[in-house]
Symmetry: C2
Subunit: 221 residues, 2 copies
Amino acid sequence: MSTLSLAEENYLKAIYHLSASSKKQVSTNAIAERLTTKPASVSDMIRKLSEKKVITYVKYQGVNITDEGKKYALNVIRKHRLWEVFLVDKLKFNWDEVHEIAEQLEHIHSPLLISRLDEFLDFPKFDPHGDPIPNEDGVISTRPRMVLSGLSSGTSCLLVSMKDTGVVFLNYLDKIGLKIGTKLKITEVYEFDGSMEVEADQENSMTISKQVADNLLVVSE
Amino acid sequence: MSTLSLAEENYLKAIYHLSASSKKQVSTNAIAERLTTKPASVSDMIRKLSEKKVITYVKYQGVNITDEGKKYALNVIRKHRLWEVFLVDKLKFNWDEVHEIAEQLEHIHSPLLISRLDEFLDFPKFDPHGDPIPNEDGVISTRPRMVLSGLSSGTSCLLVSMKDTGVVFLNYLDKIGLKIGTKLKITEVYEFDGSMEVEADQENSMTISKQVADNLLVVSE
DNA sequence: ATATACTTTTAGATTAGCCTAAAAAATGTA
DNA sequence: TACATTTTTTAGGCTAATCTAAAAGTATAT
Ligand SMILES: [Mn+2]
Ligand SMILES: [Mn+2]
Ligand SMILES: [Mn+2]
Ligand SMILES: [Mn+2]
């Protein structure tokens, strides 16, 4: 597979993500919406991408990504997530500030750069949002996300994402000291209202309501 | 000044470098040669750049960069050189492997990224080739390069560049343990043939011929 | 001073990536 | 099944960045 332009890479990545989440063909409109372009532009581009064999496509029937295309997309995703780790771990960005910059950095072409970066970051397996980083062959470690409120007492886990991303909720989390990457241990679950006692980063204990726990996504440690 | 496209940034940088080295107007052909494009393309682009006020230009009379343009070009150069430091200092690239990658990285837009990177690298003043890194305001520390053979006994300096960049010479330097960044101290100069005794990195002493010293560019420590 | 050579600009084309408007196909509904 | 709605494609146009070929301007050299 030859090398794709920046625009082609972004389309392919969008198609990859859409087909990962829905399993059936990806529609023109879905791609257009995700990339905030017009369906007419998408029609043009998918013709080009199917000529390059990274997707297959039957008119009016939507798009499927090929194995080649998947591999290419996963490489872009790998770069995006490695750069996000770099920005957070090394340059002290917050996890919510890095996406736009990684959108640019993911298009830098240099396999050697990426393998050196991977090494420099100590071969991270997950990005700052808890998403897995594909390896050079496009293989991803799976680590299913769970809702905190579904877990039972004694469980240890890592906070990787929030369902509610509104500013009110995020401010509240900030205030009580919870953020992406915080290690949590459930020490008690109260049956009557579903609230729970958790220990954050092996340090401070706190009580959180069921409503809060419903919005915290974690992975097992 | 608004933001320029990748192509515009590359043209402006080329014009900056050409005007820095020649002092008079920059010719269409010189720009075309530096960027390996055609003069016709350059004519198009300089019209656009002068509309954006980063250069001034009179038909058939060549191009001058404006203060605004200089500031913009210096910012791109700043990014290029900071990324080169990153690649060498942190990712363990050799100084001769980093230019092409920095050509891509220099176009990433994010002032915050660059100030964080600068801090992460400990505010370097020079890139791995010994070229100065402009600060945020475009101010560059000057540190004139000298030919090693022109210096006298007792002088300490830093090897920043070679005049002869042929593979034979570079291999020879590799063999005797001299490379960009090596600290040199001249301990003896032999009048009769201009050869000299130098101490490299405060460790091993060696004798180098005048012919070799003629090709080594250094800056004072 | 004039012919020749070189440099620079213009004219016209091409490709990538996007758009709007309209046509065509697919889907949903009565 | 037939009509209406939605989705998708096509047609045609625009801008950025490039090119080739030709015209126009500048410099050089006898
Ligand atoms: Mn991201
Ligand atoms: Mn992107
Ligand atoms: Mn460089
Ligand atoms: Mn560049």
